[in-house]
């Protein structure tokens, strides 16, 4: 299929990109890695009048430290996220979840910020961002603002980004010394998650000191499994304790039915996979 006609600009700085976005108006779309947008354009499910390609904005790529946080450029590819030493050391959960995204070709093209801004509830990076209290740094003509992940994901494919705003960086607090696991459940290797569970824990001795758990595709937005977290904190990391805590995984979820799973099965999976993710994270 061939997309409908559109104008195309490829700015080289964030300032130029923001200006291009403002100029283009409401029918503009931002092109990051294109792994979701290009198929949608080709099937003519969307017909933006202008594409603003961020591929040439060098300042949006890469990972750096800023005090107690990592700053991940929105255009950092999944492939680079998976290999990044800072992420491996301070935000292991993000690397683990990213390594399950689609296939190698997609991971080379797709970007961290693109996935988050696309806000597909079956996308694997939303739950880790939420669980880790990431902050979305956005730029618009009115300047810069920071949106916590807990407020960023609004609905299916909908974020708190306003018209004319660009997601530029993601700030992730450092979770140095934490252990993490992303448990993805899907039918074929390159498919989206039916359910996914992101878990990070800080364990001292055998006791779980802190826990962060996020759920993929259990609602129209990623879900923070706070009930599970509360039930884990202070517990010995025993199979029984973890299993009991995982029973809280469905609290606050609103899973839907599709060809792969009905709601009841998704709820069941959320509990089983939470138990497995936490167990794996605890080592």
């Amino acid at each position: 299929m061939i997309p409908a006609e559109f104008d195309y600009v490829a700015p080289t700085t964030v300032d130029d990109a923001v200006r291009a976005l403002a100029d283009a108006g409401e029918d503009a779309k931002v092109l990051a890695g294109g792994q979701s947008l290009i198929p949608v354009l080709r099937m003519r499910l969307a017909a933006p009048t202008k594409l603003i390609d961020l591929g040439k904005v060098a300042e949006l790529r890469g990972v750096r430290e800023e005090g107690n946080a990592l700053v991940i450029g929105a255009m950092t590819s999944h492939y680079d996220v998976v290999r990044d030493p800072l992420i491996a050391e301070h935000a292991q959960l993000i690397a683990m979840a990213t390594s399950t995204v689609a296939d190698p070709q997609v991971r080379h093209r797709g970007t961290f910020g693109g996935s988050l801004a696309h806000a597909d509830p079956a996308g694997d990076l939303l739950a880790p961002a939420l669980a880790l209290d990431a902050e979305m740094v956005v730029h618009g003509m009115d300047g810069r603002r920071v949106i916590p992940a807990s407020e960023f994901f609004v609905d299916y494919f909908t974020t708190a980004l306003r018209q004319g705003e660009l997601l530029t960086d993601v700030r992730v607090p450092k979770y140095t010394g934490w252990h993490a696991h992303y448990e993805k459940f899907n039918r074929v290797a390159q498919a989206w998650s039916i359910v996914g569970v992101a878990a990070a824990v800080q364990v001292e001795g055998h006791t779980i000191q802190q826990a962060r758990v996020g759920l993929t595709n259990m609602s129209s937005v990623p879900v923070r499994a706070t009930g599970v977290e509360r039930a884990l904190i202070g517990q010995e990391a025993t199979p029984e304790a973890i299993k009991a805590a995982a029973e809280h995984a469905v609290e606050g979820t609103m899973p839907v039915a599709d060809g792969n799973a009905d709601a009841a099965y998704r709820e069941h999976l959320a509990k089983v996979l939470t138990s497995r993710a936490v167990t794996a994270a605890c080592g």
Partner: protein, 813 residues
Amino acid sequence: MTTAAEPSLEVGKGRLRKEDARLITGRTRWTDNISLPGMLHMAMLRSPMAHARITNIDTSEARQMPGVLAVVTGADLADSQGSLPCAWPITEDMKSPDAPSMAVNQVNFAGEVVAAVVARSAAEAHDALEGIDVDYDELPVVLDMAEAIADGADLVHPDLGTNKSATWVFDSAEAGTGGNVDEAIASAEVTVERTFRQQRLIPAFMEPRSVVVDPTGEQVTMWSATQVPHILRLMLAMTLGVPEHKVRVIAPDVGGGFGGKLQVTPEEVITFLLAQQLGRPVKYTESRSESLSSAHHGRDQLQKLTIAAQRDGTVTGLKVELLADMGAYLRLVTPGVPILGAFMYNAIYKIPAYHFSCTNVFTTKTPTDAYRGAGRPEATFAIERMMDELAAELGMEPLELREKNWIKHEEFPYTTVSTLTYDSGNYEAATAKAKELFDYDGLRREQAERRQRGDTVQLGIGISTFTEMCGLAPSRVLGSLSYGAGGWEHGAIRMLPTGKVEVITGSSAHGQGHETAWSQIVADRLGVPFEDIEVLHGDTQSSPRGLDTYGSRSLTVGAMAVLAAADKVIEKAKPIAAHMMECSPDDLEFSGGKFTVRGTDTSTGITDIALAVFAAHDLPDGVEPSLDADATFDPENFSFPHGTHLCAAEVDTETGQVRLRSYVCVDDVGKVVNPLIVEGQVHGGLVQGIAQALFEEAVYDESGTLMTGTLADYLVPSAADMPSFTTDRTETPSTTNALGVKGVGEAGTIASTPAVVNAIVDAIRHFGVNDVEMPCTPMRVWQAIQGGAQSAAGPGSESGGGVGSLDTQGGAR
């Protein structure tokens, strides 16, 4: 080290394929990369409705759009498009609706073409689709086969008066080949009855269909991504009334077909008509979504089986009652696909009483037709599932039950209850080898241990001891089944003056490796180097006769024709060799490319003779100056590959996830020309069969819209989803062809599906499970373990991931 005088044999060598460099790098000619001077581009508007009357089409806006040369609707083509051919009227009273390439008054499935735009560029053609406005008056959809044949059902084609196309019956008592099955069931010590659903599948070939038509020469030339250039040419002539000699069809390199390109398509006809009308070359290439929604689908049957047996395991009767979904129209061989299965339900077993009936049903879905195996995978699945179910009922080891009933190797040739004569086979040998490679006994022990300790992960072992009929086909058998053509194949050899050889074959390769295999065969027969042979195919001008490639027929039929042509070349060369060496033809021996005067070292090479014939200065009297020869081969019988496939599946009982732990298959495809090609066919076949068991299904929603209209939703697996296969062979030569070969193209697909499902059911049978509907999704497996109702995996629309329901109007909204 071999010498030119004593070349080692080519047949049996695992040669890398000649064609792969160009295919893998894409440095070749596919239909879509053909670009002709003045060529125009076409796009199709497709119905989003499954069943509706077309009340109005307004094309005025589209006609005004940039670059547009023509916009046509069904009304414009009604007089010229004819009806798409169905070559297989299975009964005399079969009901077959008119099948317009472009819908005229009514659409009968979502994806049917309702209009087309021809423009200067493909982008302009697609843009202009949005300028076409179609008004539909919705009709009730017909989606469920059982409901479709109930009294008072809504009708797909009201003028036919019914949704039943035909019912085809075989009964062994009536045919005189066996007993009465109802009596066998009534008097049986044990009967087992099951109903299986063969879900609808999509062939999902890699290269979408594409067609270019050039009307500017004396002949109209059509390039098409087709498996069947010869059939296509004939059918264009018969459908459109164009003189056959004024049409040339070329299938350039074609990126897979799996039966999905065994078709004469609406798109080919429409492109042909528009190119003729405009007097300029026109190209049409479908999108992946168009391919998934409108190219023909496969399978889609409801299978009710009743098997009768004695307590000791002796099978006494088998009754098979099918409903087969035709979709909205009968395409090229649609009605015959389930009928091919009729001969295979008895499989490798001696079944004394057999009854088969199949009712073909119209629905408002995409037409079905051939898909890898075509009727035989369905049959093999059902009988191999039933053998496991019967074994469970009897408390017998399932391999022992099979062995008790199968045809022993010393009983061949064996005529079955469904009238076929199997020429050869050795089920004992293949099974023994497979068991050993699989560590059958060790896995059975592990299964028992896991069950004993209530392990979360349960292990199941699935068996499929399959055979199939392929090498389509003896012409007289096809005639007896009312098929519209014969089953012969044609081949020719051209001896070039420099000693090089052109081989012409009527088989039309689309990924099979004919160029390599045919070169190996001809190299041995003529004694010329492998590299000196070029294989030509897929162009009705260079390979004028043929019946093309499907049904694992190329080697067992097509290569036999080539071999026969090579023998004729040798016979033609003989008197010339005798003349050159001044001896009697009776004193000549031909070996290694040379005629030698018996008892001497005087010899002359066949390539030297080719040069002498070219010069033609000194030939014997009455001998034509040509060594070229052609031959047409009609097989005496089908070919019957068989094998034993064993699958070990781990089922995660907490999630229902299935992991294939090991897969062993020992196939018997007779003599092997190229083991590397055989290995490739088996691997690809296994993946396609396993995909039916675990992943793939064409799902429609309640309005008749295809929900799996992209490859994000229709789950074609990749290597990452497969275990490492252990493949091996036994070699029981076919006795009905000169090389002793059997077909291999479909075997893996036919055999593997039941092996996987049997393994899953075996892993969780102790939970009370005796079936899991395909594809065995984690949810279905988990629900089966829970004892819950089998879910039909109803499609939803709200979840993330995947693309879900598509607008099928060629993207126009």
